[in-house]
Symmetry: C2
Subunit: 426 residues, 2 copies
């Protein structure tokens, strides 16, 4: 199957500030086969005039089934929040997880996210639902505990890796996710590191999200979380470090030297009052920065448009410097930087030979007029609901109000029923 997007505006998310106009984009099977002015034959031609073609958003930090706790426990200090959520998480089963995953995927697909990095449990169900709807996912089983009680979880993550890693040429990949310094023993983390080295898989860890976490790690180990994990070898196969709000100058140097990615979570860091990650400084040090929504219970949605907007404006306001973080930089964080983080060298740009994870945005709305700078319009003025087509690996998952791989009414209802079941007194 080949599809030609004809006469589009294209944000290529390539190096430099490349916006293309009146451009044709040909998709052949699951690849971008051509980007340019020539007319091409295709099985289907889609008129993309007054529409924007760009790479799908890559959400590099989330906890998929936590959509079920959306708006369940807001505006609490962390401990109160955890005490409210944990008893519900204890009651989750495969069916509930699947209902949550499907709701999360429906929201991602509708708002232009084509790829995500997850950390949770029941990742087998999360993988199956992901394949069912056709999204691209990098999955990691949250690992907590000591060598004794953690090992079955690690084994789950290994089984997940053996079954799914590399599925359909990278539609599914698997990472390993020691949750954080404060939730595992040193010995268990060493065991996780050993496994990831054997399997050459990246590690996905919460690092220095809160001041408390950062300072208590120093108290316990005499070093920061970055230094602690580095000394344990956790940065050697590629670190995916979520948050990094409180990293030090020395931490940043280590992250840069080890070619780690920092996944910045603007909405979650603001809503949970975690703080302002030193994004500009990390960029100056050459650290790869990508974006994530975190779980929807601390966001409260999975809308990557919100993250590009927040990333662009929150650091300006906090630093007092309005020239920080351009729309172009924010768009790269949400696309090609995420692809790089997750080990894809042919994803996150509209470029010949790249994977066909593509979204189309309808520009015929007041917020996109007049048309001065298209990247600015998308980031500062845009809205996720203007996504009118979402394609992953060459397959159209959503188009003009219609989902092709899920029944949205069923998904919405099942999610409500799942929460009702979790919160019922019985």
């Amino acid at each position: 199957m080949s599809i030609l997007f004809k006469n589009a505006t294209v944000i290529a998310a390539q190096d430099g500030n490349s916006v293309l106009y009146n451009t044709n984009v040909l998709i052949d099977q699951n690849k971008i086969a051509y980007v340019g002015k020539e007319d091409k034959q295709a099985d289907r031609v889609i008129d993309a005039s007054n529409k924007l073609i760009m790479p799908g958003f890559i959400n590099t930090h989330t906890h998929v089934p936590m959509v079920l706790f959306r708006s369940y426990a807001d505006d609490m200090v962390l401990f109160d929040w955890l005490s409210t959520i944990w008893p519900l998480e204890e009651k989750m089963d495969a069916e509930i997880i699947t209902a949550g995953a499907m709701l999360a995927y429906a929201e991602m697909i509708r708002t232009g996210t084509t790829c995500f990095l997850d950390m949770y449990n029941f990742e087998e169900e999360i993988a199956q639902a992901c394949v069912e709807v056709g999204l691209r996912g990098v999955l990691s089983r949250g690992l907590v505990g000591d060598v004794k009680d953690g090992m079955p979880k690690l084994q789950e993550n290994i089984d997940l890796f053996n079954k799914w890693n590399g599925y359909k040429d990278g539609l599914i990949k698997v990472a390993f996710a020691p949750h954080a310094e404060y939730t595992s023993t040193k010995e268990f983390i060493a065991q996780c590191v050993k496994t990831t080295k054997e399997l050459n898989s990246p590690m996905h860890i919460h690092i220095s999200e809160t001041k408390k976490e950062h300072e208590e790690c120093i108290e316990r180990h005499g070093k920061t979380p970055v230094q602690y994990f580095n000394d344990l070898g956790a940065l050697d196969t590629g670190l995916l470090a979520a948050h990094c709000v409180y990293v030090t100058e020395e931490d940043m140097d280590i992250l840069a030297q080890k070619k780690a990615t920092v996944m910045h979570n603007p909405a979650s860091n603001l809503k949970l009052a975690s703080g302002f990650a030193p994004v500009q400084k990390m960029m100056e040090k050459g650290i790869n920065i990508s974006l994530g929504t975190d779980g929807a219970s601390s966001n409260n949605n999975l809308d990557m448009h919100k993250e590009i907007l927040l990333a662009s404006i929150m650091h300006k306001g906090y630093s007092g410097d309005p020239t920080l973080l351009s729309p172009s930089q924010a768009l790269k964080m949400a696309t090609v930087n995420g692809a790089k983080a997750l080990g894809y060298d042919n994803l996150g740009m509209i470029k010949e030979g790249y994977k066909a994870d593509v979204i189309m945005i309808d520009l015929d709305k007041p917020r996109y007029y007049p048309r001065n700078n298209i990247e600015s319009l998308i980031v500062y003025a845009g809205n996720s609901d203007d996504v009118c087509l979402t394609m992953v690996d060459g397959e159209i998952l959503y188009e003009n109000g219609n989902y092709n791989t899920l029944d949205i009414d069923k998904v919405n209802k099942a999610a409500q029923q799942a929460l009702d079941k979790l919160t019922s007194k019985s």
Copy 2:
């Protein structure tokens, strides 16, 4: 004409945390005639199941025609930005202003804003366009200069007042807007104050938006902008104070005592790197806080949903306290507090006898599932494009993709042409 919204979820924005379920809302002419469980007869019945009825958003600080400069000059320090915009503003004429106003109104209507407070020039054209589309507007001519060159502008504002203030029982009102301390002489501001007292009209002023403005005022006058304007009597007929990022403890006491409203502009304060207004402290002192988008050239849209979200999360992140500013408080800022600011005692709630400025939001989207706390869902997870009906003064201006009082294709095109004209070399 009467309209019954049947079986709705209602956020009443009343005191307390009042959400009503399975509720009927009857509109009769331009008023809310009934809110409750009884079935009512009406000329038209709208099924509002799985939909939310709430008061329309009230955008209490904007510069309507500046939508034309959307994405034209981003990420600049203030002086560079002004130097880029001013030459274009010099070239504006009535036709260009009207094109800008119509684009702004189309965006407001689509995203659920039913009332706004404007400050710009060509307010006569802005009023005419407002009446044409049917929005509720409080208009003020930006006043700058000295007694000599400022007086014709003040006369314009007086003419505007005489022609429009109180039009259609308050569909249009007029305020007086000395732009800021640094753009007028003391003598001219005194003249403006004299006029507003004679006409018993509120004053709309930029106050302590930037550190520079605040500190230079102290250097010039030995007092802060709030104290300077207070000593000139500008707080005596109702002050509408935009921004107030750098107000002192003493300033806040004055604002509270004089029953001023502070219009908080979250997106603009972040994007222009102005800073974080002490919103929590002002609320504790009993100051009425409403929300505004500021002009779209420093935002870059007129989407009040973005402002309720930002107001809710930015102060949490900045203060380190996640319990600050609940969704309910943010919703009040965007509705009833705005109405109070603008001198309406029967606007901004879904309440019998109140003006029928009402929006309907489609809740049948993944982001509104599962349904734990409806106010949280609207503020943290919601999206302005879920507004499916916008009514002002009992008239439906927008419904399910269709504008009833404007031709959206013409409006979008005219806005582009207006900017092209402004930026053409000829």
